[in-house]
Symmetry: C2
Subunit: 475 residues, 2 copies
């Protein structure tokens, strides 16, 4: 695949000229919303638009930028670890911070069933509930319900489905999915869509796409009418537990706190010393952002129509949904590439549910800004590890006495400390620590990969970025 | 129980006068073994005695001291977290360091079966294999084999048993158990004993005790003849993975390292900057220490005889085994108290397999220096958490919306960050993070409890130490 070497031009423009006059939100809304309303915005209520997305460098189709959310800044292109049930499986939130994760994903369907929206709402939303001060994105539940197959029934009004936990019957509509996501309080939430199955004939895809467009309108309408109900607590009133209220570090370079027992006790009753000013400024009076989702199956024309009509409805960011549903990878790439052409160049573009390390580099090179996937966490649980030397199936007997680090090129805490032999032993012995360490490494590899992509784009000079650091010379 | 308040005398002696002229090893053997051989030692080869145990304070029967091992210093009384399969279940080694663990325990039976002694030996023993630079103790396998019940057969020569993993047949003798433990390379290893079942009649207890005494002789003989075979690597040749070669911090007060990516890369190819001089000095040319185990069932007379005859064989430390096997707690205490009277006051005393937070405080007050138990880690996996306000069963619905920290009096990273509601959700949702966080907290509680016990003893003035910080005013 020729994307494995992205040749970056020597003198890129310092920013990409926008082909769209709407949705230009260059300033933090909390600071400037009274005075800095973009003039030509078609948003329902532009005064409350809470994400902005300054693009810093553009190299070919790829771009690096900063997604400014009410809970901190996210450097893009970004990979978002998946925390389905308000936990990235096996990894404490402080470790996610250490890895440099700036935004994580939660699944509305799972959290709606357990612990329930009301519980999360009472805790100040997901940020308070799971003690994660950084940015969060939730899906709408649409894809999860789609995955239930025989347990769901779709009508114009919404989707009736049965819980995978106890078989109980539930109903999601665009309105109830928005209500749930407002209660969860993620920084970025998603319109309720129907994920079209694959394969599907053209009429089915069109019908499904039209439904998603109507649902997008309804999602936006409900959101605009209710977005003030987001349960974010005033940051001047820290919760009983007082999670670390701060901007998540942009790199895994911030010092980990001194864990002196006495010092901790002294700090218990007072606000942390660190500068949390920006965070307060951004959060107060701010709201969530609702992103639209483009559907249209594997049909380029329908994708184009879906994109244009979703943009016409108007959202601060757009996702490409309905991919990675069984189609060949070449087709995924084709649809992604063609769909991106019809999305605003100055707004964040989110490709849902991808991919391998190679793929996330590839999609970033095409101009995707945000991606999420369960692959690094799920593969870790099955002993499949991504390294600079290729995939390692740590369960194999060949590693039983391998004293070397998992990945000599990886600076993560697992590779710094433990041998392949030990990781293999943990896996073979069904030790929980296997999942913990494997997941930390795989996430580190994914986050480092995107860090390298951003770095290459930011370099702004001719350089060769090697896809997914899988092979060949390092940049 | 009246032990809940230990009244410490105002002016304790600065050290406890020894009632024994043998086994006085006040200096680090690595530094002084050529010149500082204790004159009256009855040990088989005192020049190689690699632990020493300076006692610093004595309050009543309780004492605080420092167990100096080839892999670092251990402040006593100490609770040793159990890492059965070379992992304290769910907790990375760097987190154990952060918690201030100075010594951990491994189980010979499990490690013998998986990954096998040879594998661990090739990695430089358990320290290298599991990347744990602090002190380690292994049991002899005797108790584990005892736990197999129907799968074992005891003869004078040893024990034939079937693996719980695949039913394969194996044989442990005092000699093979020593061989295995030398291969594992823990700092402290245990004589091969028979753990007498409870209840048992006096003849059975005596027969079993006599067998354990004969096995103790054989264990010591084999150990003395083979202890030079310990696989510790010369610390001047760090392994490929280069685990943190350092003394484990004595308190959870040492700064956690800056995790800057670049800095890590720079450090990759060189020795860490920290002063590892002492550690090298201690490890080089040093060997393991073999502790004896007192048996004798629930019979005070047989316990006395077992203690005296085990001491007569001569070991650098003594364990009390065969307790916590189903007997009432009051009986446990009675046997512990009476047995301790017959053990050398200037040597470490290790009570195996106990106990609750209340119990470990109680036993420390009786003069026990070392304890281990799976309770904090196992209870954590079942959602049972120890706090300064009593036990918390986090699975209960009453915590579903409890925003407070698990234990307001606990400085651990779990209590600093997460709410009871979140911990309850993780448990109810079968998230692996539940086990990870619960275990970190319970271990923190146990280690803090022993820290408080040591602090009370060291204060050396009349103070009231509240058992297990379960209730009442804090010291």
């Amino acid at each position: 695949m020729d994307v494995s070497r992205i040749v970056l031009p020597r003198t890129p423009s310092s920013g990409e000229p926008s082909g769209y006059s709407h949705h230009v939100h260059g300033a933090l809304p909390g600071r400037t919303r009274a005075s800095a309303t973009p003039p030509a915005c078609r948003c329902y209520n532009p005064k409350r638009m809470p994400v902005s997305f300054p693009i810093e460098k553009v190299i070919g189709k790829a771009r690096s930028g900063r997604l400014l959310t009410p809970h901190g800044e996210v450097e893009t292109p970004v990979f978002m670890p998946v925390g389905t049930q308000a936990s990235v499986k096996g990894v404490p939130q402080e470790t996610l911070e250490e890895l440099g994760a700036q935004i994580i994903l939660g699944n509305t369907y799972h959290l709606y069933l357990r612990p329930g929206i009301d519980t999360v709402r009472r805790m100040g939303g997901l940020h308070g509930f799971m003690a994660w001060p950084g940015a969060i994105l939730t899906d709408s539940g649409g894809f999860q319900v789609f995955s239930l197959n025989e347990l769901r029934k779709v009508t114009e009004e919404g989707v009736t489905f049965r819980s995978h936990l106890d078989g109980s019957s539930h109903f999601f509509s665009p309105e109830s999915a928005m209500e749930a996501q407002i209660g969860l309080g993620a920084d970025i939430i998603m319109a309720f869509d129907e994920c079209t199955e694959y394969p599907a004939d053209r009429e089915r895809v069109r019908t499904s796409m039209e439904l998603t467009l109507r649902w997008a309108e309804r999602s936006k309408k409900y959101f605009e009418e209710h977005k003030q109900e987001v349960p974010w607590k005033d940051s001047r009133q820290p919760s009983a537990v007082s999670p670390q209220r701060k901007q998540v570090p942009h790199r895994a370079s911030s010092p980990v706190r001194n864990d002196n027992g006495e010092e901790r006790n002294e700090k218990r009753n007072e606000e942390p010393e660190r500068d949390t000013g920006n965070w307060k400024l951004e959060t107060r009076n701010s709201t969530q952002s609702l992103f639209g989702i483009v559907q249209g199956g594997m049909d380029r024309e329908l994708r184009r129509e879906s994109a244009l009509r979703t943009v016409e409805i108007g959202f601060p960011g757009y996702a490409i949904g309905g991919l990675s549903v069984g189609e060949p990878r070449a087709l995924t790439r084709e649809i992604v590439e063609s769909t991106l052409e019809h999305l605003p160049k100055d707004q964040p573009r989110y490709l849902m549910g991808v991919g391998t390390p190679e793929e996330i580099v590839e999609y970033a090179s095409l101009g995707v800004d945000m991606m999420d996937c369960v692959l690094p966490t799920r593969a870790a649980r099955h002993g499949l590890l991504f390294t600079s030397e290729g995939k390692v199936s740590i369960k194999q007997a060949r590693y039983a006495q391998d004293e070397g680090p998992l990945d000599p090129g990886c600076p993560c805490r697992v590779c710094r400390r433990y041998s392949r032999a030990y990781l293999r032993h943990l896996y073979a012995s069904n030790e929980v620590l296997a999942q913990v360490l494997n997941t930390i490494h795989n996430l580190s590899f994914y986050l480092d990969t995107m860090r390298r992509v951003r770095h290459s784009i930011q370099l702004g000079e001719e350089s060769r970025f090697v896809s997914g650091v899988w092979s060949g010379p390092k940049p």
